[in-house]
């Protein structure tokens, strides 16, 4: 036993990397309530005041406080930076000053230049010259795209692809640094490199060995970075402050190296609680100090920034980075993993004020202690800052020690990685099927040529479904092939050397496809089936509008006639995706998640047979269309719960907005009703819920008077944003969503 492990129960974890087992053998389950928690210390309040000043300046400065245009971001590009050195407990910034963004041209030089120009700055000539003779990820992808892929991308049938930005959605197991120290981890990777080096040198094996070599180099660099801040992370962490600091260095190094969307921090609270408990039991720390360390750590996570292009901000509005933190859940045996530190993470939302980052994600199980469920509900009601995902359906499918990346993507922590794949516009697939493969907006022949449906009578459901079948089959194959190119090139030109060092060698790989416009498509097919929908052609001879006569069931009312159509769409599309193999033998997964791209996709899509007008936003994620779920929240949630998680293992996002009054007559009733609702929803094997508790009037007022609400946080689709950072059209879309209210 290493001296730093004094007091820990031994197991397999002492000889080989097994953080999950370490947790299981050493954590202290807490089933009490929130009354033990401590408020902010004077130091925390002072430091947070300084941070708030900076955040305000950032907001006033068009959302970006500064850009370091002279350097290329990497682990050792910047000298140590501080907010206020004497006041900080956990140290380390991405660049030399808080909120100043680094430039990352590995994804594509054109994007890096455009990002700087977008904020009135110019990237230094030195940086541009450095990249003159190297191929970027973006260039690699476009060398391999064929004509159809380019057309599909242009028409907006598959968009938001990570071909012009880092793919992200990776979760390094940064806990390993605290538990084992870097030297042991490097030794393990070197041993792996020897082992793989002795195998038959297939293309895949060579790639793995090369990747291991890159990982080891960057692991050494991380040690150097820590030493600049006065820390020796070559050895394990000896106490709670070190455990938090060591772990944070791993995350910091990752976000310095690469700017992938949604690099998440994993499942760390209960792991860290073991260190806090040991220090508290030893009498060297009290609750106030433990909370102070967590508060300081969370401040650091709130400052993570990446430089983005305008197009990126359009898809993922509000400048999110998705420092997703996964909380609670159960062991494989079904025992609660809630500790006091699970409460402390939530308490930061009171001590530091509400915030969209980190993206706190509660892994909800029916068996979590009531005291914790109640505190989560209270935090939701007070801050609108957290989301919920169903541990009872995930832990058996991803091993119990999984984490969430981004919004709803589960993966075994350090055991699996994801090839992120944006999403396919399903409403447009239907319109293309009706128009013989032509795009209804540009008129271009994107998909294979087929017959345009007649406009002299009502659409026949069976004929429409046959055409939809053909065109969804076509897009599924195109989609997989496009992603294969993207991830081949990403591995080749923008491999995440440090983040992947905190994964097992040759981890399980998931390729995450996505769909948007699910409820628009389901309602459109329902209209064609149950009402009379007659197409209207424009002067080009393309179907661009519809007359709808009669009633039809709408998704979100617990009506199987349409809910089963929605379920069919997801099951069917997943089956079609699986027919085309993925790069590196990745396993296909599918998400129903849009982030804020539901607005962008809607803008690119013509009138649909459900009565939605051209350019109108889609509903986000798996949500029913705005205002069409008219039988109350339970019916609406029950419709979404019918979508099968086994077809959508990359997550099914649902965003729920309720007025405080409709949730209950007082806070006690509201908390009880919200926990009941979450229990009820997840008992139906539903996957995810964003919870917003506020009045529509508040949002309208915030839209007109942003200054009055500097920290107003809303959950949109798998993440939270500061409402003020949304553009007007996205604010309007949030306001137009179904609010469950009562007269």
């Amino acid at each position: 036993m290493k001296v730093e492990w004094n007091g820990f129960a031994e197991g397999i974890w002492t000889d080989s990397i097994d953080v999950a087992e370490f947790i299981k053998l050493n954590y202290t389950c807490y089933d009490g309530d929130a009354s033990f928690l401590a408020g902010p210390t004077k130091r925390t309040e002072q430091l947070m005041a300084e941070v708030n000043t900076l955040l305000l300046k950032e907001q006033e400065n068009n959302g970006v406080l500064g850009i370091d245009t002279e350097k290329v971001t990497s682990i050792l590009s910047y000298k140590p930076g501080y907010i206020d050195k004497d006041k900080e407990i956990i140290v380390g910034l991405q660049t030399e000053a808080p909120l100043v963004r680094g430039v990352n041209p590995f994804g594509g030089m054109r994007m890096a230049i455009k990002s700087c120009e977008g904020y009135g700055m110019n990237l230094s000539k030195d940086v541009i010259n450095q990249f003159k003779y190297r191929t970027t990820h973006n260039e690699g992808v476009f060398m391999a795209y064929n004509g159809t892929m380019r057309k599909a991308r242009h028409a907006g049938i598959i968009t938001g692809l990570p071909d012009a930005y880092g793919r992200g959605r990776l979760i390094g197991d940064y806990r390993r640094i605290a538990l084992y120290g870097m030297d042991f981890l490097i030794t393990c990777k070197k041993a792996d490199k020897e082992e793989f080096g002795d195998r038959t040198m297939t293309e895949e094996n060579i790639r793995i060995v090369e990747e291991l070599s890159k990982q080891i180099g960057f692991m050494e660099q991380l040690k150097t970075l820590a030493s600049w801040y006065g820390c020796d992370i070559s050895r394990p962490a000896a106490n709670a402050v070190e455990a938090v600091q060591w772990l944070y260095f791993g995350y910091l190094g990752s976000v310095k190296e690469q700017n992938g969307a949604a690099n998440s921090i994993g499942r760390i609270s209960t792991f860290l609680d073991i260190y806090f408990e040991r220090d508290i039991q030893a009498g060297v720390m009290d609750e106030s100090r433990a909370q102070e360390i967590m508060d300081d750590f969370i401040i650091k996570l709130r400052l993570v920034r990446h430089l983005r292009t305008e197009e990126y901000n359009d898809l993922f509005a509000g400048d999110p980075v998705w420092v997703t933190m996964s909380e609670a859940g159960c062991t494989a045996e079904g025992k609660s993993l809630v500790t006091k530190n699970s409460f402390r993470t939530l308490q930061t939302l009171y001590n530091l004020g509400s915030s969209c980052e980190p993206n706190i994600t509660i892994l909800w199980s029916q068996t979590l202690p009531q005291g914790y469920k109640d505190f989560c509900a209270q935090v939701s009601i007070d801050t609108d800052s957290i989301q919920y995902e169903n541990d009872d359906i995930m832990r058996s499918r991803f091993t119990a020690d999984y984490s969430i990346a981004c919004c709803v993507s589960a993966m075994g922590t350090g055991k699996q990685m994801q090839f992120f794949g944006a999403r396919c516009n399903m409403a447009k697939v239907l319109l293309m099927a009706l128009n013989g493969g032509k795009d209804e907006v540009y008129g271009e022949q994107v998909a294979p040529l087929g017959d345009i449906f007649d406009a002299d009578g009502a659409l026949d459901y069976d004929k429409v479904m046959a055409a939809y079948d053909t065109y969804s089959e076509w897009i599924a194959a195109l989609y997989v092939n496009t992603l294969n190119i993207i991830h081949f090139m990403h591995d080749k030109y923008a491999y995440e050397r440090l983040t992947m060092a905190f994964h097992d060698t040759d981890p399980g790989r998931l390729m995450a496809f996505g769909i948007s416009g699910l409820s628009v498509l389901a309602d459109s097919l329902s209209a064609i089936k149950y009402a009379k929908v007659t197409p209207i052609k424009d002067e080009r001879g393309l179907i661009t509008d519809f007359t709808i006569e009669g009633e039809f069931p709408r998704f979100g009312n617990d009506d199987d006639r349409v809910d089963m159509i929605a379920k069919f769409i997801t099951d069917d599309f997943y089956k079609k995706l699986v027919k085309t193999p993925c790069y590196r033998n990745a396993v296909h997964t599918l998400s129903i998640l849009t982030i804020t791209s539901n607005v962008v996709y809607g803008r690119k899509t013509g009138n649909t047979p459900d009565g939605r007008r051209a350019k109108e936003p889609f509903a986000p994620g798996g949500n029913p269309m705005h205002g069409r779920d008219i039988n109350g929240a339970v019916a609406s949630l029950s419709s979404v719960a019918k979508l099968d998680y086994d077809s959508c293992r990359d997550g099914i996002s649902n965003t729920f907005s309720v007025t405080p009054h409709a949730l209950g007559e007082n806070k006690t009733a509201q908390v009880a009703n919200l926990t009941s609702m979450l229990d009820g929803y997840f008992a139906q094997n539903a996957h995810h819920l964003n919870v917003n508790v506020f009045n529509r009037e508040l949002l309208v007022d915030a839209m007109e008077n942003p200054g009055k609400y500097p920290t107003l946080t809303v959950r949109v689709s798998g993440y939270a944003v500061n409402f003020n950072r949304l553009t007007r059209d996205k604010q309007e879309e949030v306001i137009s969503r179904t609010f469950h209210e009562t007269l």
């Binding site: 039988n631 409709a662 007559e665 929803y681 469950h740």
Partner: protein, 242 residues
């Protein structure tokens, strides 16, 4: 209409103010009263309006939602005047209690006293009684109803030992004085089984429905009751309850 059919105005599957916990609120069509402040005038008329839903359909939906209602929640029948449908509700209540283990609530204006009231109350966990006015004259003037009916229901629920909440909608210039409150409290204090007495402030959010239905809105121009005034009156009655 067959014995299994209910004339339903609408369903709210997530009701939290109509009893304990989260509830399935079934708004039934038809009401003999004509309250001037009613915000659901579209529930007044029976036959031909609303949609026909069978007891089985309601029960099946509720079974599906059971997990949401486990925290003391269940079914609330409201309307309209749910007691117009009393005999059908008995069967529904019986199944909700016996097969789903959930609670039953009636939210009523007491406009009618059904013959089968004893049997219905045997399956009822809570009756929410709308005490509109404290005298028969006002009841007739503002609701085309009578206080006697409400008193009869209070007596009946007392006799059967069913838990009761009472609510009163307070309308500016109609029943918003402390003198009015004294009179309400006189009635309330006679019934020890009333576990909660709650005042609700008048609002005009249902006014648009009158225009849609082509009915003249009697309270046109009356402002909503100020929340501060409602709070003061609630405190006033709380202090005087036995």
């Amino acid at each position: 209409m067959s014995n299994n059919n209910l004339n339903v105005h609408s369903i709210e599957s997530f009701a939290t103010l109509e009893g304990v916990g989260i509830r399935f609120a079934l708004f039934l069509q038809g009401c003999p009263y004509r309250c001037v402040y009613c915000h659901n005038p579209d529930t007044w008329y029976g036959g031909g309006r609303g949609s026909i839903v069978t007891i089985d359909e309601v029960f099946t939906k509720m079974s599906h939602y059971k997990g949401f209602y486990k925290n003391g929640g269940g079914l609330t029948v409201t309307g309209g005047e749910p007691l117009l449908h009393a005999s059908k509700i008995i069967e529904l209540f019986r199944r909700v209690r016996e097969e789903l283990g959930l609670t039953n609530t009636i939210d009523t204006s007491c406009a009618v006293m059904p013959d089968c009231i004893d049997e219905l109350l045997a399956y009822t966990d809570l009756v929410i009684i709308d005490l509109k006015f404290h005298n028969n004259a006002d009841y007739d003037k503002f609701a085309k109803g009578s206080l006697d009916n409400t008193i009869a229901m209070l007596d009946k629920t007392l006799e059967k030992g069913v838990n009761v909440w009472v609510r009163t909608v307070v309308v500016p210039d109609i029943n918003d004085t402390t003198d009015d409150m004294d009179k309400y409290i006189n009635i309330i204090n006679k019934y020890p089984h009333i576990s909660k007495y709650e005042l609700l402030g008048y609002h005009s959010m249902g006014e648009f429905k009158y225009a849609e239905l082509g009915i003249k809105y009697a309270l046109e121009g009356v402002e909503q009751l100020q929340p501060s005034k409602l709070k003061a009156l609630q405190q006033y009655v709380n202090e005087r309850r036995i």
